[in-house]
Amino acid sequence: MMFRLPVNRLDDLFAAVSAVNSLYLPVDGNDGRASYKKWVEGTKLSSKLNTVRSAKDFFFPQTTNLCDFNVKDKEIEVIDIRADSEDFVVFGVRACDARSFTILDKVFLADPIDSYYATKREHGTIVTLACTRPEENCFCNVFGIDMTSPEGDAACWLTDEYLYINANTGKGTAFIDSIKALLEECSDEDVKAQQTTVKEIAGKLPFAGVSTDYFKKNTLLDIFNSEKWEKLSESCLACGTCTFVCPTCQCYDIKDFNTGHGIKRYRTWDSCMYADFTKMAAANSRNTQMQRFRQRFMHKLVYFPDNNNGEFGCVGCGRCLSRCPISMNIIKVIKAFEEE
């Protein structure tokens, strides 16, 4: 059921949500780049297509304190620091990022369930926002994502006059119920009209026709052993930018931080681009940057789909395209293989 609210009452909506739960939404920084910020009075929704960092931060933050240890002589006391997480709402998530949660869920909610992630997922409500002006770097449609009809608990569409909202899940229905006083029921005519217009733009995007067939038709070993990796990876700087801005990159490391009077055990995003990634006692499994670079793309385009009924581990958000210091990215990799 479609509801709507006049755009000049957006602030009332945000205030109503904030009165009950923490509300996070994309906000423009003074450098013109958007990032998720907690709503306080006066906060304006970003006009940018997307945030530099993805919405995975809410469920899988850059660092998570897992537990603490108090060390006294030979006694070690383990302190469970997990607290009941508060309910929160993330507003303005795009279709690509919304799909990333399906991918992350397959990793973190598979047995054994990651309780830190699961708790956040349980407490978080995701309200998505359909795209109206995609960027040249967008290629969500390559992975079957419809930017005009985002997933998430509730989906929104913004026009010049109204914000339209429709529930996708029970959580979304509860969200809409909580703000119903501000909404009016309406037809989905305007939404449909916007979808038609945007779909036309989406169909003309530079990467709309990129095919991923090569990775479906060829064997893991053929792709793994391809000579192309050497050339593709030759100028990789071995930084972790692509992995950290990626909404689906999920690898982490667990480390201990000595506070001087105890230990904080925490997990922190890790990157397969780093030389000591998955380093084991005996040795390192990947000794060259080519191998590390290959790992990232094999994971997204081969290993993940092989284990998940063909679903690719990429949502086409375009962040690695806009942020890689040397402009090497998944599109260039896919195209290099598709050329064959």
Partner: protein, 324 residues
């Protein structure tokens, strides 16, 4: 630039070099990738040199110059300072490198163009004066001067300090001091304001290491931040204040060696003006020890590596005043 491509092909053909380190065209005009070319066909197909080729190729030569045979590299004026500095540090094998200096009038920066409000940029063309931006939503022409990245807006030099041959006319060193304007602004802040400024900027850091890995002055075989025994190994820490330490330690380590090539700020995914930290050191070194430009030559001993009776006393830090 056809002349650049032709010269690369000539030097490959006559055997002077067996490969060319240059820039490779991407999907759009702005997504240039550094690359090694080994044949005329590859050069014809993908080699590019234009107003979008910002990446500094010097650092790649640490590895590349140790491979079999001589290579050709194209360096912009600011890149030649990095090259010289790396020679001085014995990190590049000079005899294996043939350097062609290429002219530069400043590089168009995609993030600057995006910040101007352009969305869906499918291509750009520059005629040196103006940049035409093609987008999904229409085309527009803007002044090139408005599209430059931080490193180019306050270009330090259009003069090549090292080369085997030059293409085009050499330029002049820029002495207007404009690159220190923002540093001066920061110096005029109170200590608290400055602390707030840097906390605000550095707290955005995602510890991706792009600044370090692109930096020609960061050429350690094994960085302290990659050393498990250091306790500050390259991941984000549970205590976010550590990000400040990462940048301060890194900047101190490159102090006196940083040529101000500006790559750190250009590649930062979080748009942190990292170059301002290094520029502060450069400004201080100039004021304390006399003007010094790292990478200007390969012989002059750097002020921080040399001792003279004229050196300022360490106490100057306390006595020169400033804003407490």
């Amino acid at each position: 630039m056809q002349e650049v491509k032709d010269r690369a092909k000539q030097l490959l053909a006559d055997g002077t070099v067996n490969r060319v380190v240059g820039w490779k065209a991407g999907e759009f005009s702005y997504d240039i990738t550094p690359a090694v070319f080994t044949s005329a066909e590859e050069i014809d197909k993908d080699f590019i040199y234009n107003d979008f080729c910002a990446p500094n190729l010097s650092k790649y030569l640490i590895k590349e110059s140790r491979k079999e045979g001589k290579l050709l590299v194209f360096l912009k004026p600011c890149d030649t300072y990095s090259f010289n500095q790396l020679l001085k540090e014995h990190r590049i094998l000079r005899e294996n490198v043939y350097v062609i200096g290429v002219p530069c009038t400043g590089k168009v920066d995609i993030d600057t163009v995006r910040a101007m409000g352009f969305q869906g940029i499918t291509g750009m063309e520059s005629d040196g004066e103006n940049v035409t931006v093609h987008t999904l939503y229409g085309d527009k022409t803007v002044l090139k001067a408005d599209t430059l990245g931080d490193k180019c807006k306050t270009c330090k030099s259009k003069k090549h300090v090292v080369y085997d041959e030059l293409i085009g006319e050499d330029g002049e060193v820029n002495t207007d001091g404009a690159r220190f304007e923002l540093v001066e602004k920061l110096e005029k802040m109170t200590a608290d304001e400055r602390f707030e400024f840097w906390r605000g900027e550095l707290s955005k850091c995602i510890r991706c290491n792009a600044c370090r890995n692109v930096c020609p002055a960061c050429s350690c075989e094994n960085c302290v931040f990659d050393n498990p025994a250091s306790g500050i190994q390259q991941r984000a820490a549970v205590n976010s204040f550590e990000e400040n330490m990462f940048h301060l330690i890194r900047s101190f380590h490159v102090a006196g060696r940083c040529t101000d090539c500006g790559e750190c700020t250009r590649v930062c995914p979080q748009n942190i003006p990292l170059h301002l930290i290094n520029r502060k050191y450069i400004k201080d070194i100039n004021e304390f020890y006399g003007d010094f430009q790292a990478g200007e030559d390969t012989e002059t001993r750097a002020p921080l590596n040399a001792y003279t009776f004229d050196d300022c006393e360490p106490g100057i830090v306390y006595s020169r005043g400033g804003n407490e």
